[in-house]
Symmetry: C2
Subunit: 584 residues, 2 copies
Amino acid sequence: MQRMTVFQRFSRTFRENPSLAKMLVVFTVSGGGLMAYSEAKSENEMNIVDSTEAEGKKKRVVVLGTGWAGTSFLKNLKNSSYDVQVISPRNYFAFTPLLPSVTCGTVESRSIVEPIRNIVRKKNVDVHYWEAECFKIDAENKKVYCRSNLTSNLGEKEEIVVDYDYLVIGIGARANTFNIPGVAENCHFLKEIEDAQRIRRTVIDCFERANLPNLSEEERKRILHFVVVGGGPAGVEFAAELHDYVTEDLVKLYPKVKDAVKITLLEATDHILNMFDKRITVFAEEKFQRDGIDVKTGAMVVKVSDKEISTKEVKNGGAISSVPYGMVVWATGIGTRPVIMDFMKQIGQANRRVLATDEWLRVEGYDGIYALGDCATINQRKVMEDIWAIFRKADKDNSGTLTVKEFQEVLADICERYPQVGLYLKNRQMRSLFDLLKDSKGDAVKESVEVNLEEFKAALSQVDSQMKNLPATAQVAAQQGSYLADCFNRMEECEKNPEGPLRFRGEGRHRFRPFRYKHFGQFAPLGGEQTAAQLPGDWVSIGQSTQWLWYSVYASKLVSWRTRALVISDWGRRFIFGRDSSGI
Amino acid sequence: MQRMTVFQRFSRTFRENPSLAKMLVVFTVSGGGLMAYSEAKSENEMNIVDSTEAEGKKKRVVVLGTGWAGTSFLKNLKNSSYDVQVISPRNYFAFTPLLPSVTCGTVESRSIVEPIRNIVRKKNVDVHYWEAECFKIDAENKKVYCRSNLTSNLGEKEEIVVDYDYLVIGIGARANTFNIPGVAENCHFLKEIEDAQRIRRTVIDCFERANLPNLSEEERKRILHFVVVGGGPAGVEFAAELHDYVTEDLVKLYPKVKDAVKITLLEATDHILNMFDKRITVFAEEKFQRDGIDVKTGAMVVKVSDKEISTKEVKNGGAISSVPYGMVVWATGIGTRPVIMDFMKQIGQANRRVLATDEWLRVEGYDGIYALGDCATINQRKVMEDIWAIFRKADKDNSGTLTVKEFQEVLADICERYPQVGLYLKNRQMRSLFDLLKDSKGDAVKESVEVNLEEFKAALSQVDSQMKNLPATAQVAAQQGSYLADCFNRMEECEKNPEGPLRFRGEGRHRFRPFRYKHFGQFAPLGGEQTAAQLPGDWVSIGQSTQWLWYSVYASKLVSWRTRALVISDWGRRFIFGRDSSGI
């Protein structure tokens, strides 16, 4: 503890004297030592053991964002040899899966947020949080430029420049308008707490407005026409929540206008919830039909004016039609944030749609920069790209052919490095690579299997078709965050004893195993205490019991006991008193 | 019930056909019958018994505002012979005494509001609510002009013109800046829910901002200097809440900046809480001193710039000094709303500061217009103004002198009509008016007391000094609302059998007893689970037990079981988990 204090004083000196700190960083970086850590978890915790010049200085980790990825990283980071700086415009973590519940007041907005300072406070890692928004990443000089978003009389928008040794980017995505005219101006999005609050107020406003005297019946119907764009889980859940809110609570208070309410769900593809099992899609579509929610599939939004939304039929000649609306919620697709676009240009990814990382979540070509969550996507290495390197590495005796024994030695590494190989075998119901090779060789006996490069290539030619991008979900982001924290926790350990697969292109082994996503299933709440769930192994569950499963899973996943207690009491309140309709 | 339905259809026809309704109103009004009611609570409830032309039509009562006055009126109105229209920009009632708790998140904003539709829903009275703000009252033509405050794409700000037979004005007051430069631009007020939410976010913003790196110590101290202007109950409670929030919760999360926090309370008079008993004032000042809250009395704010607040010493030469601040909360004084000012000009009250009503809450000179709560003040009739009329009325035999017997007959009426008389006697420890008269006559025997006008005048000359305006509190507004509802409930009954005091200037009796305020005491929460209370009879209670009294009184006074449950669970949450510091 004594040493800790000494060190803290040390680090404060640096933080209060930026030029000193900068000098030291330049010194460190120019030293060229890539990995420099203190001896984590050892007795002499604070006596830096480091071969580079950065003696007495912890590695600076800058985390951008306090969403699922960033928070999960921070929660799981246990190695005290880092000096962590968290930068985000939101000083809290929001449990976003409950956002649709917030839009209708089933759950209060404050019940699903936890201050990031609370989350990181008890840890033995030095974590500093700064409320600011990053507007530029300078990968060359290892700096991020941030701007405080606190305005009013608190001073000018201050700019902060922060140096890093490692940068963890987890700033999420923005709503994607697909450049459709009028969307940005007239639609509500559903990404932030503020969005949900605004939607809630707008729903009430629509009802109050429709209730005013002297309105034509037509205008009243327009105002109470709620349009949800996007038949994915978010859009479907919001439409369902809104329907419950209207039928369970609002009609009692606004009896005059209840017949004028209409909810429309627009989806460009043929079915809503098309990432789910067919049984769920069918159930959802039927339930919505019974509920009177108008599901329009194959309808692509082409324009949103201030009072009308225009859609184009995807099939049947593409007729364009317009309907008046009172509120549109845009719940389809995510886009890249400007700061990431700018960063992509800088690092030569200008042609890509999303920031690409390798399987270790490193931004390609930049060892110290990690990107996770919705702001990035893992660019899986294709087997075909490396086929020659794999063959050469496996063919230890350089015979030009691979024998069974040679295979056996690299098999696990191949499957680990290229997960699509394993998936391919599983889907073809083959037990191992041997079967695959056997196939390509005809009916030869297993022991005598021996393939050359061309045969090897042919055998693996279909493998890459199994590659899929991970969905942009909280689950993925959280797993990536904890994976990365785990890597950071054991960085030095793994530097000495790499645990990853063979480097096929290079020498030695990778430090870490690549990130592997474990899908725990997905829920689709459909309103009226009905929920559909698709669990691993294509297990589908629909109905009220699934709603209770949803309640228990979400309650258990909440970030703190406080939020857990609040959300559960919110649910209780809703059961007893219904949802509130005050316009605040 | 059948008749009810018929009538409802009738009245709907009128509402949907405004010109028809207007014609009828004009017809009714021009008929000149002042009081025209249906036979409330009688068998033939809907068969209008009315001497005017307004057959088949309920009297239209328009209520402006859903604060304490308006809501209390609506809650207590039970006579179904009115068609009530409530107009307010807020579709909810807010339990304002808990606003200071909302500023620091001890209680959630939504926990202290109840939709006005919920409050009026179960009643047998026809109540319609419209979310709009009144911007003009036309007393001549009995119309109010309102504007919907719902903007966005829901259409233009619609104007609504509403006719009334009775108008109940309860739109409250606005914060009074006393035209001090910079106050409106730079200060936070504490009147509405939104104000409290904004203050909460600003407090967090200040802490986040002060926590940023690269700030000078001076700037950090500026940002964390919270100034509260006004040493009344609101200002004191807010300062205490803020102090608790900082010391109990925020210092844990912002340890770096805790020493820079400073709270200053500015009060222009010599003491804070000067409407309370001295013991409370002293206790509060001592407690604040122990807590480190800097109480500056005798300091009048003269200017607020974006970063500095300037005060002038009231005594000692009036030196002006300026201090830098991060946030100023303006909790001093209330002002008249523009629509009321405009209305006052119209009715010849342009010279007054506040809208004046008589003791029956009627706007002077306008029988059908009532004003209650913070937007009006009761202009008590002075005894001296009416002294001649009183004398004449009492002197039944026109003898020019008053005898004991003559007195006895009008005594109760005098005391009821002019409550200051009763107060005066009580303060002088006299049992009756006889003592007063005896005083003025010397030691004469009771039976032989007989006074002429001059002697009568002399005896009562000091009485009017006892008149005091009622404080602008929720308690007063609520009592006025229920008083007025009671008058409306029994309007016809009392028309037939007036229950009020003698009309000294006119003939007969007043219909109703004048409004009389009953003071149930006042709390001043001082933070740290300490509350002071001044109860009727100058009973003073200070300490933790009073805090529990505060909890129980406020919980019991909340408007609905829902808000009660929410506020109590908020208190519980605060005890267990502390206050949240998310910037939402």
